[in-house]
Symmetry: C2
Subunit: 219 residues, 2 copies
């Protein structure tokens, strides 16, 4: 596929939205044509407005069911002729109505090296587990919780004095780099979802870019 | 703790044993004083013999039970006054008799970034899962399967054309670097098992060495 109009779903601060907007302004990513939020007045909405991108709060409580809310999201995205959907800190599982309408065209970023630490508070989970490496993952979204096919991952060190906050901040830096890059690969058709896997069009060596370890500290 | 005599348990090729032997010869690690194998004639045994390290096959079938085999291992290690036990590709769960006698003094290396991909064939699991980052983990051994407290991890990229073999080889390079380093930290008392966690004596910045990402490929 090639995509020309990106929709972004948000719930919170919107720093990943900002990274996508910047990449789009630089010409590295197609137009961000719509931003939808499930949280009224979230910072991400005002960032979108500052960037003069159409942005709207869709109230989950106004929908009679989870499915109906998903259908409302899908309808808004469809009306705006969105062909790639990026979940940028969207704190809600998306369901079949949206996933079927945008099959293979919904991406999420998660702050761990999946399959480790799916679900909420991944940096907190990583600190509690005592791991020494964590990172972030961009993946195609399926109906599970952070289970979809992996597109790209970046690793970061976990330091001994890390808190949830300090680790989350280190991972977030990589998210801001990785999400626009991975979204661009999907938008350009370099990688696509096929039979539940990420399939790459380009030669394998191209995809070495799919990992980045930002620092090397040798024992 | 500080350790002065290391015992190594092996089952197979013994390339991690070789890395430990080299580190010991360089003076980076205490003496490797005993090598025990649960597989007759494995390559690791001949490597130990070439290095003139006492090495012995202990036949699991000669032990009436799993516990009895564990007790036999513990007895041999105890007789050799071993104070740090390294599992270097030892394809067998070690049980309470050994873990109690060598509490906090048994280390294992596993070819994944735990908690991802515990158990057998970790590189195969990683390739099948389609992740883009994997690595290896040195951890204190507990009674679970690859569940003990993490000491050190190193990350490697997974490339799109990787097979189980090519990924395992890339991870193995890091194992050879990481295992001697982590064993030395434990032997010098820089890190110890306390209440199920790896506790570091040295200031946090010292432990940045606990991660290494061998390459940086930026998208």
């Amino acid at each position: 596929m090639t995509a020309s109009r990106i929709g972004v779903l948000v719930s919170g601060n919107g720093s990943n939205l900002d990274a996508l907007l910047s990449a789009s302004r630089r010409g590295d990513l197609p137009e961000i044509a719509l931003v939808l939020a499930n949280v009224a007045g979230c910072r991400a909405l005002s960032r979108a407005e500052e960037a003069r991108v159409p942005a709207r709060f869709l109230d989950p409580r106004a929908a009679p069911s989870r499915e109906a809310y998903d259908e409302a999201l899908a309808a808004e995205l469809g009306e705006a002729r969105i062909d790639l959907v990026c979940l940028a800190g969207f704190m809600r599982l998306v369901g079949r109505p949206l996933l079927e309408r945008f099959a293979g065209r919904v991406l999420n970023i998660h702050p761990s090296l999946l399959p480790a630490f799916p679900g909420l508070h991944a940096p907190r989970q990583a600190v509690a587990a005592g791991v020494r490496v964590s990172g972030c993952t961009v993946h195609f979204v399926d109906a599970g919780l952070d289970t979809g096919a992996v597109i790209a991952q970046a690793a970061v060190p976990v330091q001994l004095d890390d808190t949830e906050e300090s680790l989350a901040a280190r991972i977030l830096e990589q998210e801001h780099r990785l999400f626009p890059a991975a979204a661009a690969w999907v938008a350009r058709g370099e990688v696509a979802l096929e039979a539940g896997r990420a399939r790459w069009r380009s030669p394998p060596q191209r995809a070495e870019g799919a990992i980045a370890c930002p620092r090397t500290d040798r024992p």
